[in-house]
Point group: C2
């Protein structure tokens, strides 16, 4: 392998103000910027590009070191030498979604019209809007057709949306622990998080950045509530059970149990790396997500134009946030639309966040699917 195969790239790409991003709502974002990071090199025939879409609170730093935390990228189990997405073979692109807070334009960005942070004047974006912005980046990188769009959780929703919005621009799509719509329970769980943030007086009606405040307590509560949904009951029990932090109970409201201490830590560390308004906007985008909306023929109709895309749908048995039934519904609709769809249900008790763990069956499933997609595309 030469240097090029290990090349890393990326940074920020800003689109011209006279080419605004027109959103599903009808609103527009002028001077859209997207933060991205690439691993590996684009082949001369430009056929080895994989776009990786991130989940709610993640970012473009899917491999390598995270510049803020110094920790390995969030998908180091799937992206790296010898792994399913290998910089020696693939040109892997990670990008922060529009609405995010890791460099892409979002509610914490400066509104060019006012010179102040957008706050709640930022327009509501959708999963389709995130994909719309990504399509611009992919085009700017000179890629006509991606080998694959791959994502877990909200990233999986984006992979499905890519196939619906731009079927001719991708050869394959991998949706892991995702869904084609947010359920009532999904919406309810997100609403709790939003209400926790908006209940914090330091949220200041969304204007905290301009006023020098930070709704840290509310954001921490939102994160704690969400974090429970990322794990299974069995995983929490195995990891923590009823183990105490110290000998004996405090007979008070300190963190007596290890699981309490763990949750508090999850909340406290989250507020250091994430913006509260981005949390509102991205959860809203997920809640608005429903690929079958407005289609009399439902999900199968949505996938009709994507019948030439190869799909791999992966679900985890203990994922109660996006249960396997949601993935099965996607596969049924893909079958009805005449698309090629592999379905892998992985038996694990690790819950939703299994998509981020080093699961051998997941690695094998993604690796096998991407290799066969490359082969079908005529790559050795």
């Amino acid at each position: 392998m030469g240097e090029a195969s290990r090349a890393e790239g990326g940074g920020e790409i800003a689109f011209r103000p006279d080419a605004p991003l027109i959103l599903d709502s009808g609103a527009r974002i002028e001077g859209l910027a997207l933060a991205y990071r690439t691993f590996g090199a684009l082949d001369p025939d430009r056929s080895n590009a994989i776009l990786v879409c991130h989940a709610l609170t993640l970012d473009q730093h899917l491999a390598g070191r995270h510049p803020a935390t110094g920790r390995p990228g969030w998908w180091s189990s799937l992206v790296g030498p010898g792994l399913p997405m290998d910089p020696a073979r693939h040109f892997i692109i990670g990008t922060n979604v529009v609405g995010g807070c890791m460099g892409s334009t979002g509610p914490s960005s400066i509104d060019p019209g006012t010179g102040r942070p957008y706050g709640l004047t930022f327009p509501v974006v959708t999963i389709a809007d995130m994909v719309r912005a990504q399509e611009r980046l992919v085009t700017a990188l000179g890629i006509e057709r991606l080998l694959a769009v791959v994502g877990g959780s909200m990233g999986g929703m984006q992979a499905l949306q890519w196939a619906v919005s731009y079927p001719e621009r991708l050869f394959a799509a991998v949706c892991i622990a995702g869904a084609a719509r947010h359920s009532a329970q999904n919406i309810a769980l997100h609403e709790v998080g939003r209400q926790a943030i908006m209940a914090d007086p330091d949220w200041r009606g969304g204007n905290y950045a301009a006023e020098g405040a930070r709704p840290e307590k509310g954001l921490a509560v939102a994160r704690m509530a969400a974090h429970i949904t990322y794990l299974s009951e069995a995983a929490l029990q195995r990891k923590f059970g009823r183990e105490l932090q110290r000998d004996g109970l405090s007979w008070g409201f300190d963190a007596d149990f290890q699981v309490e201490s763990y949750l508090r830590h999850q909340g406290a560390s989250f507020v250091d790396r994430f913006d509260a308004n981005s949390y509102l906007y991205i959860t809203r985008a997920m809640d608005y997500f429903d690929l079958s909306a407005g289609r009399a023929g439902g999900l199968a109709e949505a996938f009709a134009a994507a019948r030439d895309v190869r799909f791999c749908v992966i679900a985890f048995t203990s994922d109660w946030l996006y249960p396997t039934a949601e993935s099965r519904a996607v596969v049924r609709a893909l079958n009805a639309a005449g698309a090629r769809a592999s379905f892998v249900e992985i038996d694990t008790d690790k819950g939703h966040d299994a998509f981020l763990l080093d699961e051998p069956v997941l690695r094998a499933a993604v690796g096998g699917f991407l290799d066969s997609a490359a082969l079908a595309r005529g790559r050795a």
Copy 2:
């Protein structure tokens, strides 16, 4: 049926300050008061008394009209003429737990030592402490041996605790949608609620009552988070799906979806009827609950002294808060201890709160069990 059979009674019972309630923590409550309500009349042989224990946010108003809301009692599906617990046949006692906020001594009560509301100076209570207080009430009512202790959710935990703490004082115990310990996930979910309350600046370190404030926003968030756990994913989906409040999306953070509006209503109406510190104390009691704690022989050892009590354990298949596996563990331990235990697993998709609904199978199970217990006790 004469007037006596429909008699209602109750009020507040205050115990003498020189007979304090000694708690599991070693702390004591002087001048303990318990609010209670009774339905029906105690038979001359005092063999028809049923103590009903309430869940986290409920109270002594299990039947009749609730004095604050004017709505029917929370167990009107099981308590009433012709129902499993019938004031014409039974003397039914409901009482607000110690630590509660519906008339029993709790953190919002006036500390006789200071003349101000206890707030966080109120001692942490346990499920066993709640039962300890109830035993005093039962004794004061002249009842040597209850026909049954019946409860759902936290009430079911109290029913099990009664059998362990005072096996000679009850003939039968009915535990519905309960457990013998709080799991890591149960603790985690409660901790989110507590953190939401304590994050509210109007909580004032627990001193809000003395300072004329109310942590309404934090308490509402805690309630919203908890309420989701009381329903199943399927029930939420059937009830609300992705139905909108109005035609079209708001493209903002209003309650677009009916499930959001429903949750907000649950939060807002809860703060009118419940005290935030009581929420902290009662959730803490539940988290501390583990009948097998400190027993080398586990749960079976805990139940060893209760082998003469007849048990009925009822669980709902879609209850993910206290899954049927927890009830099965209780039944296995009862069997190992040599106690009589009926187990009824009710197939429903209505989730944990099914114990509050008019479920014919639940009604039949509770009714059949109580009738056979009465028969075994020699009542016709």
